[in-house]
Symmetry: C2
């Protein structure tokens, strides 16, 4: 709510994006395309947009026109209930796509907010559909990306529906670790870009519970936390917490 205070004079920059030169294309849409095909993609990734921390990339209800690839930075997506309750539906990092929710009704159904200064590539959706009618590999890869999102969502449902608080947090940390690793960062040391409240909203927990779980993990020597800085001391210890519903099995 208080994010509105950050005024940004310039947020839209028409810089040619060039997937062909982008070091993310192994993570992003161009995956598996030939050089020639990537160059065709270049034509449709029309512009980049910079966002400051706290800024919305899009809001629920806005008309949908494009999907976005995170070029740098970090986002959250969330859904709001009329009474103000928030559910964070995901955190997106470099190379991941945003906006797939909007295809269904031609209007976005969630909010996307930058959690740090970020940059995205804008991919006009009709162009993407056009190009994927031409390039089978692109079409197939895009379908895989959408499907992967569905599978990810099922994982979150499992987490929210069946796991205990510490299990949820362990799962979350291991997932982040794995995604940072895939991007060439350390698997066991990273800065969280989101608050305890946002983690809690994602995991279906209150911020106090998240904080207590962090403290517990620290006591048990699984991690070292200092505010947003996390160091994982025992990946296997965290894994042991997952899939272990404690009490009577």
């Amino acid at each position: 709510m208080p994010n509105r205070k950050i005024a940004t004079p310039i947020t839209l920059v028409d810089v040619k994006s060039a997937c062909s030169n982008c070091n993310l294309h192994e993570l992003c849409l161009p995956l598996g395309l030939s050089q020639a095909e990537i160059e065709k993609l270049d034509e449709l990734v029309s512009s980049r947009r910079r966002l400051r921390r706290g800024e919305h990339l899009y809001r629920a209800g806005e008309a949908f026109g494009a999907i976005y690839a995170v070029r740098s930075g970090f986002f959250k997506t969330d859904v709001l209930l009329e009474d103000g309750r928030e559910q964070v539906t995901g955190f997106q990092m470099t190379g991941e796509l945003l906006g797939l929710d909007g295809i269904s009704t031609e209007h976005h159904s969630c909010n996307a907010v930058a959690l740090e200064d970020s940059e995205v590539c804008t991919i006009p959706f009709l162009h993407l559909e056009g190009l994927s009618r031409e390039i089978q590999t692109l079409q197939h890869h895009f379908h895989k990306v959408m499907s992967r999102e569905i599978v990810r969502d099922h994982g979150v449902m499992m987490l929210l529906g069946t796991m205990r608080a510490e299990e949820r947090l362990a799962t979350f940390l291991l997932n982040l670790s794995q995604r940072f690793t895939a991007r060439g960062y350390s698997p066991d040391e990273f800065y969280l870009r989101m608050t305890r409240e946002e983690i809690g909203s994602y995991l279906g927990l209150k911020l106090e519970t998240v904080s207590r779980a962090f403290s517990r993990f620290q006591e048990e020597g699984l991690i070292a936390v200092q505010q947003k800085h996390v160091r994982i001391l025992s990946i296997t210890g965290l894994k042991r917490l997952m899939n272990h519903q404690q009490g009577r099995g």
Copy 2:
């Protein structure tokens, strides 16, 4: 678990499906296509398959080759954790698609089980991709269907992450009601095809809690339940329960 006992001598029937004659095409993939285009679709919807109650349409881990449209009957999809915990990720009825989860890794990531004797149309996925490179309307509609699934999943996350037990059940009943209505059935009277345990698994609750919530709704005059038969007496009463987190607002 005990579903295995139902032996079915014949489950695969190669009947030509003919979307063009199917009264579901307003709900299913062909939505929005011209008659000529639907006839092209007919060629790719290669066969139907009948399933008995309790039978799996596919299982997690199996190779993915096709998506399925529910022609009649009722399904659930679920994900299992190694320790046996189950999360029901959805219930699918007539006209809805199954199998989208498999596109991402070329292997199914969940189980799909018929909750009553059912019939599906098999849509070989590579053929669908081929045809949607030819027919823009089909391509776009397919993308909308996938996106709708993502949006639906976000709704479930909201439910699991933020709602109280009775809110969850009210949301669930209203959602069923709305989907039955869209299929020409009564909005306020239907048979549940799933057990209390399956409802609970979907809603992140124990079966006793589901049962108690049903009883409560009955006491309050919102519904009349008799086992799997549900009659909604007050749609507005149920709606009032949603988005009303009780306690202090």
